[in-house]
């Protein structure tokens, strides 16, 4: 069994249906390993991700949240990720301003062909969040078990 003392972060990954979710599938098809701590939620487009979802994840105990979408210019809906880019830039900047560790949030553009990039990104992100330890600054104590 795993070491009880070893911190296993909870990571929520929002992936757009057209590029990044397919990229994640490709990582699977190519059997590229990344930690089981990452759980993917499929959304139609990165622009569907409301800042509320990200805060909600932290509230419910997530230690890191990552948003993956099509590369700018490749959005299935032509412009969705441009809006997502602005929204997330401002949100992350605000979280940083409130003193919340900025390494807990990330946006990464992953195309349907970039299975390797998806796996590498997840490995990197999990490592960064593990380093930080449990999310204390945006936790909701009632949601801890």
């Amino acid at each position: 069994m795993q070491d009880v003392n070893q911190f296993k972060p909870k990571i929520v990954a929002f992936c757009c249906n057209w590029c990044s979710y397919a990229g994640a599938d490709l990582a699977g098809t190519n059997r590229l390993q990344y930690p089981a701590d990452v759980k993917i939620i499929r959304v139609p487009c990165s622009c569907r991700v409301n800042p509320m979802f990200i805060l909600r994840a932290f509230q419910r105990g997530a230690d890191g949240v990552i948003l993956c979408g099509c590369h700018p210019g490749d959005c299935h809906y032509t412009t969705g990720n441009y809006y997502a880019r602005r929204r997330m830039t401002l949100l992350f900047s605000m979280l940083d301003y409130l003193g919340i560790e900025k390494q807990r949030t990330r946006v990464e553009w992953v195309s349907a062909a970039e299975g390797a990039k998806f796996a590498a990104t997840m490995n990197e992100f999990v490592a960064a969040v593990t380093q930080l330890g449990p999310n204390k600054r945006l936790e909701d104590l009632r949601c801890k078990n």
């Binding site: 499929r42 409301n50 796996a119 949601c143």
Partner: protein, 665 residues
């Protein structure tokens, strides 16, 4: 409360080898709302699907979760399975435990734990799923083609050939476009008019095709299958139904000094004119800026000589409203203005001409009757210099277009070759950066110009052209291969001007909510796989409006666009994506944030009366989503500050339920 069934797939050993499938179905069976849970070797097989169908019936399931491969693989399969058992297909959720679990993990305990969590997230989502029905919208079986050049003509002919009605809107008095001005076509050197004019006549004679010449699109409303378009038929001051095109009026018209657009101002036309002999429709048009009768009320000669009584000085612009199922953009291109390239002395000397002007000078129907004569003194030129890439491939700010105009290499080779063929006493020089000749028989064509016709190709550019008082043009250029500067005393210089999209394209794109690149070329839905469709459903692209193209490419794309249109018009109804945005009008502020981020123009606003406390009413502006247009990206849902806008199938509460399930371990 939903009654949920869970079906865990082994996928042979693909899943079962790393995920304890029995443990997963056991664990998920205890989740609230789950009334049935099982696992099977291949859920997507017929036997597997039967397990699902039987369970739906036996346990009166209201929702199902399939833990299997990626939804991109088999979501459609399981939706069909559910539907065949009488369950709404949008009550199905997939937990991806293969690509995103068993295939990427080695530790069975970890993978099993993750599979259970992914299953729980899917269950949490299904709890909040609601049955969705894909809407249908009817299709108006008529297409609109905007632009009557070779692209528009070919598209219209192909659509009409399939039995559908087509309207062509052309802003000039005649259809035909740029190709009418071209003399010969590469690489076969057949005459452009000989191959184009029969097609123009076909258009006019085809009873499925309706030509709105001298008209412009004013307004486009609606969506795929149901466009509503307003077309402005500009006043010609000639009754097109009466005019026979005899040309009597144009001969008698006293206003003779109007620069002739068709010959690019190289000669003159009358105030009442027919652009050229083969014009379609062959109807005279009065230029209101030149006609003395329209300007000052004096003259009226044309009305006197017209035996058909077609002249109508009181004619007004007329708005025609038409319904269409599909719209094809074929707005074409124009050569750029050359006035700013002062190094080539274009505006200083009449003998420095653009390539399109050169086409007119060599055309039998042109100002010189097809004899190559210098515009300045009408003398036969002996030395001609052609300069390529004028304004093309200029990435420096303000110098021109950054792209390659694609057609110039070939038409310059054509011009050079024709010069040498008709006038063996000429010396012809071509300054080039690269000769781009990919295409069937293209490189052979270019080589013929060099090898058979003795055209001098010089690798390098022209630095300056100085008109000399004796009428010669001093051309200074570089020959990079010889590493020397060359000086040529030329009689004529021909500039291969870059081409750019027609100016009407951008306002049109706004009307159509179709996207454009920074050069004002229309963007395609996918650069490789959907090259003739715009990202906006129901809008198709034909010809140079999408990017520089020669005639064969244009005709090919025109046919491709037509086949896409035919595919659309052949349907009686369009099924819509049911996962669309919808606005809760009780919460909507009417602030227009959602409308601004919608890439499809699917959101509009209405003033609606609401009941308020104490038997009062209030009128509020609220958003309405057109579900036939909405593609379900969800951009609006986040732009909305009040949370009135939500997305079916991916609602706020569904996504948050998934978040909760994943984080609760």
């Amino acid at each position: 409360m939903q009654r949920i069934g869970v079906f865990v797939c082994w996928c042979g050993s693909n899943i079962a080898a790393t995920v304890d499938v029995a443990a997963v179905s056991e664990a998920l069976g205890h989740e609230p709302g789950v009334v049935f849970s099982t696992n099977y070797q291949y859920m997507c097989s017929e036997a597997g699907q039967n397990i699902i169908k039987n369970a739906i019936r036996d346990y009166q399931l209201t929702g199902i979760v399939v833990c299997s491969c990626s939804p991109r693989m088999h979501e459609a399969t399981f939706r069909k399975t559910a539907a065949s058992a009488g369950l709404n297909s949008y009550m199905v959720e997939i937990a991806n435990i293969r690509e995103q679990c068993s295939w990427i993990h080695k530790d069975k305990a970890q993978a099993t734990e993750k599979a259970i969590i992914l299953g729980r997230a899917a269950i949490a989502k299904v709890h909040l799923n609601a049955p969705l029905t894909a809407g249908e919208s009817p299709v108006t079986k008529r297409a609109l083609v905007i632009g009557g050049g070779i692209a528009g003509i070919q598209t219209a002919l192909d659509i009409a050939d399939a039995g559908f009605e087509v309207d062509i809107v052309e802003k000039q008095p005649t259809i035909g476009g740029k190709m009418t001005q071209i003399d010969k076509t590469f690489p076969t050197l057949d005459c452009a008019a000989c191959i184009l004019t029969p097609k123009m006549v076909d258009c006019a004679q085809n009873d499925k095709i309706n030509i709105f010449a001298y008209s412009e699109v004013k307004e486009v409303k609606g969506f795929v299958g149901n466009f509503h378009v307003k077309i402005n038929k500009k006043a010609r001051y000639v009754d097109a139904t009466k005019c026979t095109g005899c040309g009597e009026c144009t001969e008698k018209c006293p206003m003779k000094k109007i620069p002739n657009e068709f010959n690019l101002g190289l000669d003159n036309r009358h105030a009442i004119y027919i652009p050229f002999a083969q014009a379609v429709p062959k109807v005279a048009t009065i230029d209101p800026n030149a006609c003395n009768m329209l300007k000052n009320g004096k003259c009226g000669l044309c009305a006197k000589v017209c035996s058909a009584g077609a002249i109508d000085y009181k004619q007004k612009d007329e708005i025609v409203e038409r319904e269409y199922g599909a719209i094809v953009v074929a707005t074409g291109y124009n050569p750029i203005k050359l006035d700013d390239y002062d190094e080539y002395a274009y505006s200083l000397s009449k003998d420095v001409v653009s390539s399109l002007e050169f086409e007119r000078i060599t055309n039998a129907a042109g100002p010189t009757g097809g004899t190559l004569l210098r515009p300045s003194d009408g003398k036969h030129p002996h030395t001609l210099v052609f300069v390529q890439c004028v304004g093309s491939r200029c990435s420096a700010e303000g110098k021109g277009k950054s792209y390659c105009s694609k057609i110039c290499c070939m038409y310059t080779a054509k011009h050079a070759m024709l010069c040498r063929e008709k006038y063996p006493d000429t010396e012809v020089y071509v300054f080039y950066i690269d000769v781009r000749s990919p295409g069937k028989n293209y490189d052979e064509f270019y080589r013929r110009a060099v090898e058979e016709y003795g055209v001098h190709y010089i690798k390098g550019q022209v630095g300056k052209v100085v008109p000399r008082s004796d009428g010669k043009l001093l051309v200074q250029g570089s020959d990079l291969l010889a590493n020397e500067q060359v000086h040529i005393e030329a009689d004529m210089v021909v500039l291969a001007a870059a081409i750019e999209p027609d100016k009407s394209a951008r306002p049109l794109a706004t009307m159509l909510t179709a996207s454009m690149d920074t050069n004002d070329f229309f963007t395609e839905a996918h650069a490789k796989l959907r090259p003739v469709e715009s990202p906006t459903a129901g809008i198709f692209l034909s010809g140079a409006c999408q990017g520089p193209k020669d005639i064969p490419d244009t005709v090919a794309q025109a046919g491709a666009a037509a086949s896409k249109v035919i595919g659309l018009l052949a349907k009686d109804k369009l099924t819509c994506n049911p996962c669309t945005a919808h606005s809760d009008e009780m919460m909507c502020n009417g602030c227009s944030s959602c409308e601004k981020v919608c890439p499809y123009g699917a959101i509009s606003y209405v003033d609606k009366e609401f009941r308020m406390p104490n038997r009062t009413t209030a009128i509020r502006r609220v958003a309405v989503v057109n579900e036939a247009v909405c593609q379900g990206c969800g951009a609006c849902t986040v732009a909305c500050p009040s949370g009135a806008m939500d997305l079916k199938g991916f609602s706020n509460s569904q996504i948050m339920a998934e978040v909760d399930a994943i984080c609760k371990m």
